[in-house]
């Protein structure tokens, strides 16, 4: 476990499979498994069920509002589950539990960092988004600013974020499926791509949301069962579980306290900022706030989502420790008993634990749920990307808001198809690459480009079109450039010698986000144009709608 870098760890958690193997396999190499029959059967049941949902949703998806936001009729509870589902990816289920299995307490630190962004979204964003927006977060930003430039900028930020995240998920998906089901990598990627195109094109947001809800319920139930069985074995005593774990784990008592994971304060705070505020800038998550009827339901969504995600992370902690005591000690699951490496690679603790507590059938269930998780997450991403193309770029920039709804719908379906094909091609292209950095890059762009513009457009009356446009691009470009000239991409991906990277911070969010904010501020206060006055004068009316919901989309009629 030597030399496992901070970066390796954060990506392990988001995109465990691809990163870890791409990084040279500190946690073991990917090994294709034999064909797992019960897993495939359960997976077929899931695919059949979700295609049924898609068919049902397709009949109810007629207008653009249906397609983008499921008609605005999702309840707070349902939306909370869907948001939690977006966050509980296969990588976080397998990657987090693998981190707890390997490092113990350090896995908990990452869970916490993944959760604390949610309260911030609640306090500053959720209701405001719902009151001001329609389909995308660009609607909110262009509420009072000049639509054409600002929408183009917001669409750039959205598409960059979505594409980076999508490629990372596709590569992770291909490798995970190869691992769990014994399918060829390219077949797995094509399968995921085709299914997601079907869900999104035909069923829009309604199908995407219900697929996500179905999976969230399955994953939460499966994880609850596993944690319950682990605790049952230890008479529901954490003392007994932890005592046994510290006895069998090679790091002994050290697994119950923080290890070397977090040491450099700048990197740590920067990473925390990326997590916290990146969450508040991810287009596929922000879009979910437009699927509920009003601000009250938006608020409920975050409350439920935070509860489910927090509960899930606590389960993962128990599952990781369960795997230490029940998987690492059982030769059946070990590839090499002397080294303690697992069959199937380093991300398999939760999968083996599923077998240990529930036999072949439950193993099949958990494998199928892991696949379902990937499908649900990539569908949400694709929908967000397609909406950005059709609603922001086509309808409002290219056609200057004069596109008719039928054309806009058509474009969104072509865009879904194109994004799906692009994701398949890039997924196959990037198979052997270390794409883990793309996940943090996506969060970094979201935190540095999308979040500052969104936050200031809602709260700062002196924001102007010029400030938002230039500042948004400063955030976007600095987020990408600082990652490229940082050690992860410069040294590990581009292969320059160690120590030669122009900046030595792996997590540049603290710099790029600050630059984004400063640029927006500077270019706004120095803006003396006539447009700037229009932007500032419109704040009062915007703030009234934002605070009270008067005039909000689908909320009140007057």
């Amino acid at each position: 476990m030597r030399n496992i870098t901070l970066f390796g760890l954060i990506s392990a958690l988001l995109l465990s499979v691809s990163t870890v193997f791409g990084a040279g396999g500190d946690l073991g190499q990917v090994q294709k498994q034999g064909v797992n029959l019960s897993a495939i059967l359960m997976f077929l049941v899931f695919v059949g069920g979700t295609l049924g949902i898609t068919y049902w949703a397709a009949k109810r998806t007629k207008t653009a509002k249906d397609f983008y936001t499921a008609g605005g009729g999702i309840t707070g509870f349902q939306n909370g589950l869907a948001i939690a589902g977006d966050f509980m990816s296969a990588a976080s289920f397998l990657g987090f539990s693998a981190m707890v299995y390997n490092k113990g307490y350090d896995g908990l630190i990452f869970s916490i960092s993944g959760l604390v962004g949610w309260p911030i979204v609640m306090f500053l964003m959720a209701e405001q988004l719902r009151n001001l927006g329609k389909y995308t977060f660009a609607d909110v930003v262009t509420y009072r600013l000049e639509p054409t430039p600002i929408r183009s900028m917001a669409a750039c930020g959205s598409l960059v974020t979505v594409l980076l995240y999508l490629i990372a998920q596709m590569v992770g998906a291909g490798q995970l499926i190869q691992l769990l089901f014994g399918l060829e990598y390219y077949i797995a990627v094509i399968l995921v791509g085709v299914l997601m195109i079907l869900y999104v094109t035909f069923g829009g947001m309604l199908a995407t949301t219900w697929v996500q809800i179905t999976k969230a319920v399955l994953l939460l139930s499966g994880a609850t069962f596993m944690a319950f069985m682990v605790m049952y074995k230890y008479g529901f005593s954490f003392e007994a579980l932890f005592t046994q774990a510290t006895t069998v784990h090679k790091d002994k008592l050290a697994i119950l306290a923080p290890g070397g994971l977090v040491s450099d304060p700048i990197s740590t705070i920067s990473m925390g900022l990326g997590w916290m505020f990146g969450t508040a800038g991810l287009p596929h998550i922000l879009m979910r706030f437009f699927t509920v009827s009003d601000a009250k339901e938006a608020r409920k969504s975050v409350l439920y989502a935070t509860g489910f995600i927090g509960y899930f992370y606590l389960l993962i902690f128990v599952i990781g420790f369960g795997a230490i005591v029940m998987v690492s000690t059982n030769p059946e699951y070990l590839a090499d008993a002397a080294k303690g490496t697992l069959k199937g690679g380093g991300n398999m603790p939760a999968v083996h634990l599923a077998h240990a507590v529930g036999g072949d059938i439950f193993l099949g269930f958990i494998s199928a749920v892991a696949f379902a998780t990937i499908l649900a997450v990539v569908s949400g991403l694709t929908l967000a990307g397609a909406t950005s193309v059709s609603h922001d770029l086509y309808a409002n920039v290219f056609r200057r808001g004069r596109a008719n709804e039928a054309d806009e719908m058509k474009v969104s379906k072509y865009a879904t198809f194109a994004l799906g094909i692009l994701a398949i091609i890039l997924g196959i292209q990037f198979e052997k690459q270390n794409v883990g950095f793309m996940v943090f890059l996506a969060f970094n762009v979201a935190a540095s480009a999308n979040f500052p513009v969104l936050l200031l457009s809602v709260y700062w009356s002196k924001l102007t079109t010029r400030g938002a446009f230039l500042g948004g691009f400063v955030g976007l470009i600095s987020a990408v450039v600082l990652m490229i000239i940082g050690p992860t991409i410069w040294e590990e991906t581009l292969g320059f010698p160690k120590g030669s990277a122009p900046i030595q911070y792996k997590y540049p969010t603290i710099f790029s986000m600050t630059l984004g904010f400063i640029a927006i501020w500077f270019f706004s206060i120095t803006d003396k144009s006539a447009r700037a006055q229009v932007d500032k004068d419109a704040f009062e009316a915007q703030n009234i709608r934002c605070q009270t919901g008067i005039g909000a989309e689908g909320a009140v009629s007057h």
Binding site: S113, V116, L124, T243, P265, G272, V302, G307, L314, I550
Partner: protein, 102 residues
Amino acid sequence: MQPDMVSKVKQHPKYRELLAKRTAFSWILTFVMCAIYYGFILLVAFRKDVLKTPIADNSVITIGIPLGVLVILSAFILTGIYTWRANGTFDDLTREIKKDVQ
């Protein structure tokens, strides 16, 4: 939104009240969440010894574990507190404003 509606809402005393209360409350809670999270992260970075202390003499469980769980719970509790206040005070004020201006 119509200009006369804007001026009507703007001059409504309850609107001023809503604006002041919600803004203050949101930023206070944001600050509390950041303080809890970064407080925890700074403990992890600089005072590992504190987190390593067992919770009792005969226990293997360290203080870090309940503390970490508390950070997770605090995130949920803070969102709960916000929801509770928003469902009550803020929604009541909003309803009154809407009733008067529409």
